[in-house]
Subunit: 146 residues, 2 copies
DNA sequence: AATACACGTAACCCGTCTTGTTACAGAAAG
DNA sequence: CTTTCTGTAACAAGACGGGTTACGTGTATT
């Protein structure tokens, strides 16, 4: 359990639901992700709150897409899972007294802020549908050579 | 203990040694960082291995700079502490079978790689001396208004 | 109504990683 | 020889993502 994989997993699920099965239970999804149904529900709760997916209880229930993949960006999904911290490094304390430490943290935060801005910009500019198309292309390539 | 603060701390120490006391014991450094002497030795061991600082044992020993701050970049320090992981998010597994997951991870890694490149580029282009100068400027400003 | 199915959520444990702490060995100066 | 340092190993603490169990709730089937 090193790095937070929730974003990756949720993207996978969204595309899976769009391309394979419009409706899927937590258990099915958990199996394909190699994890647990509770983890799936826990993570997808965020997506539901934002209205990207819809869930129904009881017999025949499960999860289904509530929006087109073209209307969901990586940033949307990132936000939906709670916008977890992006970086594993950072300053030591929030409000350091020492002026040197303030200068250090300012420079460090500058660089981190730049990288974060770039990363989130990329997230904003890519839709889940874009990734699905990548898959389509890769799949076509795959079958073409077979 | 949220984010790895070793980089920030080591930068602080380097500038402290250059501007205040050329020689300092682990205990002194630990006190100014608000931590423990063993943690200081542990972290600074990397800087010593790279030849940025020098340590001497026994009575009157301690740490001192072995290179000018102008010759040490943030990237150097980052490398010296072991180049810890920069990001807290990432793909779930290394070699996914599912082509969708591969497409997801490819896009994700693309964005992360871009951000990492930018961040390390910034680290490379800033020397510890640059930060020390920031401090000088801030300090002058501070006393000027007093 | 009873049952099976599936989500919702809380509670708990586990693995990993940084950080803090204790303990002890070795080296250098007084 | 004692004091003052570093060098390391070993271990505990705290945080966090992730896995698991348990139980409640809603819904379709019988
Ligand atoms: S398992 Fe369905 S898309 Fe990967
Ligand atoms: S304590 Fe010496 S520079 Fe911050």
């Amino acid at each position: 359990m090193r790095r937070d994989s929730r974003l990756s997993r949720m993207l996978h699920v969204l595309i899976h639901m769009d391309r394979h099965y419009k409706r899927a239970t937590s258990d099915t999804i958990a199996q394909m992700l190699g994890t647990n149904a509770v983890v799936v529900r826990r993570t997808m709760a965020g997506l539901r709150k934002q209205g990207y997916v819809h869930s129904e209880q009881g017999h025949g229930g499960g999860w289904e897409l509530a929006r087109a993949l073209t209307d969901i960006s990586l940033f949307d999904v990132y936000q939906a899972i709670g916008a977890p911290p992006l970086f594993a490094i950072g300053p030591s304390v929030e409000q350091p007294e020492c002026l040197v430490e303030q200068a250090v943290d300012a420079r460090l935060n500058d660089a981190l802020q730049e990288a974060e801005t770039l990363l989130l910009e990329r997230f904003r500019s890519v839709t889940v549908a874009d990734i699905a198309q990548d898959f389509d292309a890769c799949f076509a390539e795959h079958t073409h050579h077979a």
